[in-house]
């Protein structure tokens, strides 16, 4: 009995066979450098503004670079890689610079780009420039990230890189450039499908090869890493043998109605397809073939098919579609042996009202997703038009807003006010809780969900989001851990725009009248100022809630494993179970900053 599980209509990240976690218990993953700038530590922290200001706790699990004059080697992996997915956490110290080289040749820039509004190829997440002779308009080729998704120094950031090695013919001549298939910084896609015509500056060699080591730049400044995960995807992808097909014409509801009949059409083809005959209204197809598997192991098979269908792989029925209304993409994981694996797909067109569609993909333990369908059989297309909203000047914009945590919706904020800025730092204010519930960098809003067709009244942030507390901002001693809303005592009064269109929110509760304004400091972070008329001595303002709140220095706190800073004078921490709250008394004027 094979292990099968379903994931319906979702692309969830799965830890598949073939993924390697680099433990950093020691430095054995890397080649010895002969220098001491690369070290292991248990934890590391740094200052927001002081250059090279790393302090570390002894131990393992975190890789840190503390370069000094004459002691600043680059770090090479011991093994070499071709097609690879790699992801890791990193932390920059202030004004620091490093880089992560695929195959020692193609650099993804790591830099303290905090506060940069319009990033270039030299900023964090950029494909660093390379010298290229004879290129019109300049001699350097690089690729800037779509947005600046970079966080402040001293915070853990996350990078995911999907890299495709250059390809060569049997004579060693390059036939396809290396590619950054995708780079995600802090969850935001910042690069996609970037062709690299050759090595970038500072490569270990100008000669391109099928494999090469990872190289981390160590000679420019202090930087830390942890949680390396890599998938070596260098195996030969699975492929299909020629397909024997049969087509039956008729209005069938079950496969028994036609399987015993003589097919109306038979033939061979090399791609899976529903589109085998010119009559396409009432039909059933039977497709028989073999999948060639180069390496035994878990394979993820995805399919998106309209109609009623049955899939048999390696002799077992792995999918029978009883509900013909459900045409969503399905995903199954199968343990497949090496060699030829028989497959049969039976597809019945049962409804006239849906367009025909057959898409089929396979992803192996050591190769990337490969499609087996013909070009016309599955059309990647969207019926929606995209509608984006910029904030080239400060912009206040209301919508429903879904708060997400770990890919899941935790709340729909219904009286949400989104505030965007040309500095590309944006926040969502929840009028029902007087709270800043999320902040993000990059572009302002995707309003497609609200404005295309009927719409659902909601918009989505267009950048990496930091979700903050979704609960009441104003509490008292007795309910300091409350996970509720402000409730009916709150009177929302609206907002007023200043001469730069920056809003001050006004609300009152229990006789206290609040004026609440958030501004951007140095293009880097938010500073929120709350003025209170008739302050109520029982009111406490919760400036942060989380599982982990650590006081770092005077008035500065690190929240949730160095995800962001809160800077607040006179704040206190209280803990209940695994919830921590940072709060200040609601005096006539309260000011605090959210730094990330």
């Amino acid at each position: 009995m094979k292990k099968i599980f379903w994931i319906i209509a979702l692309w969830l990240p799965m830890l598949l066979e073939g993924q390697t976690v680099i433990t950093l218990e020691d430095l054995s993953f890397f080649k010895p450098t002969g220098k001491t700038n690369w070290q292991l530590a248990k934890d590391v922290s740094t200052d927001l503004s002081k250059k090279d200001g790393f302090t570390s706790l002894p131990g393992t699990g975190v890789l840190i670079n503390l370069p000094t004059e004459g002691n600043k080697a680059n770090l090479h992996s011991a093994n070499e890689y071709g097609n690879v997915d790699i992801s890791f956490d990193f932390m920059m110290s202030a004004h620091s610079n490093s880089g992560f080289y695929l195959q020692g040749r193609y650099e993804v820039q790591l830099l303290d780009s905090w506060g940069v509004t319009n990033p270039s190829s030299a900023d964090c997440g950029g494909i660093y420039q390379r010298f290229k002779k004879g290129m019109p308009g300049g001699t350097y080729e690089g690729h800037a990230p779509r947005i600046n998704a970079c966080l402040a120094p001293g915070l853990w950031q996350h990078l995911d890189i999907s890299f495709q090695a250059p390809q060569f013919d049997e004579n060693g001549k390059k036939i396809m450039d290396a590619k950054m298939l995708q780079i995600k910084l802090n969850g935001a896609i910042i690069q996609e499908n970037v062709s690299l015509s050759g090595p970038t500056g500072g490569a270990i060699s100008e000669m391109e090869t099928a494999k090469g080591p990872f190289v981390i730049q160590g000679d420019h400044g202090s930087v830390a890493f942890r949680n390396f995960t890599l998938s070596d995807l260098d195996s030969k992808p699975a492929y299909l043998d020629s397909i024997d097909y049969q087509v039956f014409f008729g209005n069938f509801k079950t496969k028994e109605e036609f399987l015993t009949k003589t097919p109306d059409l038979i033939g061979k083809t090399d791609k899976l397809s529903w589109d085998l005959a010119s009559k396409t209204y009432h039909f059933a197809n039977v497709l028989k073939t073999e999948i060639n598997i180069s390496e035994a192991g878990e394979h993820q098979i995805d399919f998106e098919i309209n109609g009623k269908y049955f899939i048999k792989i390696n002799g077992a029925e792995v999918f029978a579609e009883p509900n013909e209304e459900d045409n969503n993409r399905k995903s199954i994981t199968l343990n497949l042996p090496k060699g030829k694996v028989p497959m049969e797909i039976i597809l019945i067109k049962t409804k006239k009202s849906v367009d025909n569609k057959l898409g089929f993909w396979i992803k192996g333990p050591n190769f990337r997703t490969t499609s087996f369908h013909s070009r016309g059989s599955y059309l990647a297309s969207s019926s929606n038009e995209e509608i984006w909203l910029d904030a080239n000047t400060p912009r206040v914009f209301r919508s429903f807003m879904d708060l997400m945590k770990n890919g899941k919706r935790i709340k729909r904020v219904v009286h949400a006010v989104n505030v965007g800025s040309p500095e590309k730092l944006h926040y969502t204010f929840d009028l029902d809780n007087a709270n800043i519930v999320q902040i993000w960098k990059g572009n302002f809003l995707n309003t497609t969900p609200m404005w295309d067709d009927r719409g659902d009244g909601s918009s989505r942030p267009l950048g990496p989001v930091l979700t903050l507390s979704p609960y009441a901002f104003i509490v008292n001693k007795a309910n300091v851990f409350s996970q509720g809303n402000l409730g009916e005592n709150l009177s929302i009064k609206g907002y007023e725009l200043d001469n730069q269109d920056i809003p001050t929110f006004n609300y009152s509760i229990d006789g206290a009248d609040f004026f609440d304004k958030t501004v951007i400091i140095d293009k880097k972070y938010f500073q929120r100022t709350i003025s209170v008329k008739n302050p109520n001595p029982d009111h406490l303002l919760r400036v942060a809630m989380g599982t982990d709140i650590v006081k770092k220095e005077e008035n500065r706190y690190l929240i949730d494993g160095k995800s962001y800073y809160i800077e607040a004078a006179g704040a206190s921490i209280e803990q209940s179970g695994n919830v921590k709250v940072l709060f200040v008394p609601a005096t006539e004027k309260v000011q605090y900053s959210i730094i990330w």
Binding site: V414, H415, R454
Partner: protein, 647 residues
């Protein structure tokens, strides 16, 4: 097709008429140029004190259009960033609007021509469901604001209206100081709102528990029909005494999250109507519609209700109501009267042909009517995404039924122009029939309990402006379709511009019956035989004549497999209101005939789908098709065959 002369024969008099006048001869639609880049999906329109027009959009902007009466209007952006504004009103020179979640006042404090204070007058609960639209405000005589709130829908039972948080499906009355009073319940999709004689009126459209579109007078504590809202009726500040359980004693709610309820002719409980409910449970505030707007005829999605306050400058309908329709991109007209203290009256077609779905209307300074349109995925016959137009009265008098009043034994029709008295006195020139809609949890209702109402007498007034008809078999709670088809105007011999009045007869007034000898009209079949006589130049006959000799097909009645002519098809499509939602080649409220033809349905399949539509076959369309079981099967078969030739 120029200058075709229609020869119409009536009993002994034959009259020659030039091409029939159209709506456009009397009321002109003038487009207002919208600057490129502005997506003006209208949600609210209001006239500023100086005659400028304020208009709000789905995209959250409020524009003030300066000089909107000229051919160079200027659009000034006054406010932005608001949440899908679906209404706008001016009070003391200040703009108020309903966002999805609150009533907002917009103030320009620093005088730079744009709003800088966005003041929350009242913030209401909302769950965040897409269907939770909020409409308004309308301003009452006491200065308070009326706002209405759509219901949400279930998750697995996506067809069932739900009130997930307080006051969804209610009318809220909000004081200028921001105090909210729940006012009335039972709304489903209350986009249609308006004031008449200082009273709040609301319109809804076909949906679950709503057989068809209508407008109703809304008083405090009323229940308008949709039960979802009653989940909050027990709250201490609720004035509504109606309760869900009481409805379900008369109607099976068929509340099964797995099975979408479909129309059943005979359920275990006897068929009932909202009017029957009102009669059965007096004192519960149940309101049946003041005036039904038959679905697919006068509209599919009721919008703005506006009173003609122009004292004649907009034509002969001063004091009457105009009711917009989003899906059919048109405006209906309503004459209201009070019988036994309750509003009832007649609805008529008025003007169609707007470029987008008609959502909001406001009077301009010059007594023209500003009409703001939006399509926004709801679908509309005028299939532009948005539009702003003005409707202008030319000053020429259309030949219309101006009013229809209920009489103890029939109706009194007032015409805008004197009638040909001889024709108007002949009962055979009138056709009256009646029907109603079922009250049930199903989306919409077919017309039920259809009946004929023979016209037994017609008394024409001396001046030719009034006819009193005596009608048999009047039924309270029924819509009476009154069609003086054969009545022509005295001077120009024109037929009526709009031939049907739909009178919702909630109460038959008491009083004297007409002092007249009753006659028996010819049967309908007899009249139709006359109409189909050889001398009559019907559209069908013309087609036959126009066709080259030898190619003429046998008539459809003698050979059911042949396809009817386009003209015949168009006549049937119009008669059965198919054209309310479908166009030949373009997408409208529903798919085009060409798109349907591509599905290659057999005639039998299509017949089944017309009688019991399957909206799930057309997931891209917002408005489900109404079951058309009342259409004669022979006609359905003719139309199905014709549609299949459209691809």
């Amino acid at each position: 097709m120029k200058n075709i002369l229609f020869l119409i024969l009536f009993s002994f008099s034959s009259l020659l008429i030039a091409q029939e006048p159209t709506e456009n001869d009397y009321y002109k639609i003038a487009k207002i140029a919208i600057p490129e880049g502005i997506v003006l999906e209208a949600g609210g329109i209001a006239k500023m004190v100086n005659g400028d027009i304020a208009i709000s959009t789905r995209r959250g902007d409020v524009y003030i259009i300066e000089n909107p009466y000229s051919n160079k209007p200027y659009f000034r952006k006054f406010a932005s960033g608001l949440h899908e504004i679906l209404g706008l009103a001016i009070k003391d020179g200040v703009i108020y609007c309903a966002q999805r979640g609150e009533l907002t006042r917009l103030l320009d404090k620093n005088g730079d021509g744009k709003a800088d204070r966005y003041e929350t007058v009242y913030s209401w609960p909302i769950s965040g469901h897409y269907h939770e639209y909020s409409y308004g405000p309308k301003i009452g005589p006491d200065g308070s604001f009326y706002v209405t709130a759509n219901v949400a829908f279930g998750n697995s039972d996506w067809w069932a209206g739900k009130s997930l948080v307080p006051w969804r499906g209610w009318t809220m009355k909000i004081s200028p100081e921001g105090k909210m009073e729940p006012f009335a319940a039972g709304m489903r999709s209350p986009c249609g709102i308006g004031m008449f004689e200082g009273e709040f009126f609301y319109g809804d459209n076909q949906g679950d528990w709503q057989g068809s579109g209508f407008i109703s007078h809304v008083e405090k504590g009323d229940f308008l029909g949709h039960p979802a809202s009653l989940v909050w009726a027990d709250k201490p500040n609720s004035p509504v005494t109606m309760r869900k359980d009481e409805i379900f004693t008369k109607v099976d709610p068929r509340d099964n999250p797995k099975i979408k309820p479909e129309f059943i002719d005979k359920e275990a409980l006897p068929n009932t109507t909202i009017f029957d409910m009102r009669k059965a449970m007096p004192g519960k505030g149940i309101k049946s519609p003041a005036v039904w707007l038959p679905h697919g005829v006068l509209g599919v999605s009721t919008s703005e209700i506006i009173t003609d306050e122009t004292a004649g400058a907009f034509g002969p309908f001063s004091g009457q109501l105009f009711v917009g329709d989003q899906g059919m991109s048109k405006i209906a007209r309503v004459y209201l009267e009070k019988v036994n203290g309750q509003y009832q009256g007649a609805a008529f077609d008025f003007r169609s042909g707007f470029r987008s779905g008609v959502l909001r209307m406001a009077w301009g300074n010059d007594q023209s009517l500003f009409v703001g349109g939006t399509n926004r995925g709801w679908g509309s016959i005028g299939n532009e995404a948005f539009g702003l137009e003005r409707l202008i009265f030319t000053g020429k008098m259309p030949f219309e039924m101006k009013t229809v009043k209920a009489m103890p034994d029939g109706f009194e029709i007032t015409f805008t122009l004197p009638v040909n008295k001889k024709l108007a006195a002949d009962v055979n020139n009138y056709d009256v029939s009646s029907f109603t809609y079922k009250y049930h949890p199903v989306y919409g209702s077919p017309m039920i309990n259809q009946g004929e109402n023979p016209v037994r007498g017609a008394i024409v007034s001396e001046d030719g402006l009034k006819v009193r008809i005596v009608v048999d078999a009047l039924r309270e709670g029924y819509i009476h379709a009154i069609v003086p088809e054969g009545v022509l105007s005295q001077n120009e011999n024109y037929p009526l511009l709009h031939k049907t009045a739909y009178y919702t007869l909630n109460a038959i007034p008491s009083g004297d019956k007409a002092n007249i000898t009753l006659v028996t009209p010819k049967s309908k079949a007899e009249r139709e035989r006359i109409d189909a006589g050889k001398l009559v130049n019907t559209p069908d006959n013309q087609t036959k004549e126009a066709a080259p000799k030898g190619s003429a097909k046998p008539s459809s009645s003698s050979n059911s497999s042949s396809v009817i002519s386009d003209k015949e098809a168009m006549a049937l499509l119009t008669k059965h209101t198919c054209i309310a939602c479908h166009k030949e080649k373009e997408r409208a409220v529903g798919p085009s005939y060409a798109e349907i033809a591509k599905r290659k349905y057999t005639v039998a399949e299509m017949e089944a789908l017309i009688i019991a539509p399957k909206p799930e076959n057309w997931p891209d369309f917002a408005t489900p098709m109404a079951p058309m079981g009342h259409v004669p099967k022979a006609d359905i078969r003719k139309l199905a065959a014709w549609i299949n030739t459209r691809k």
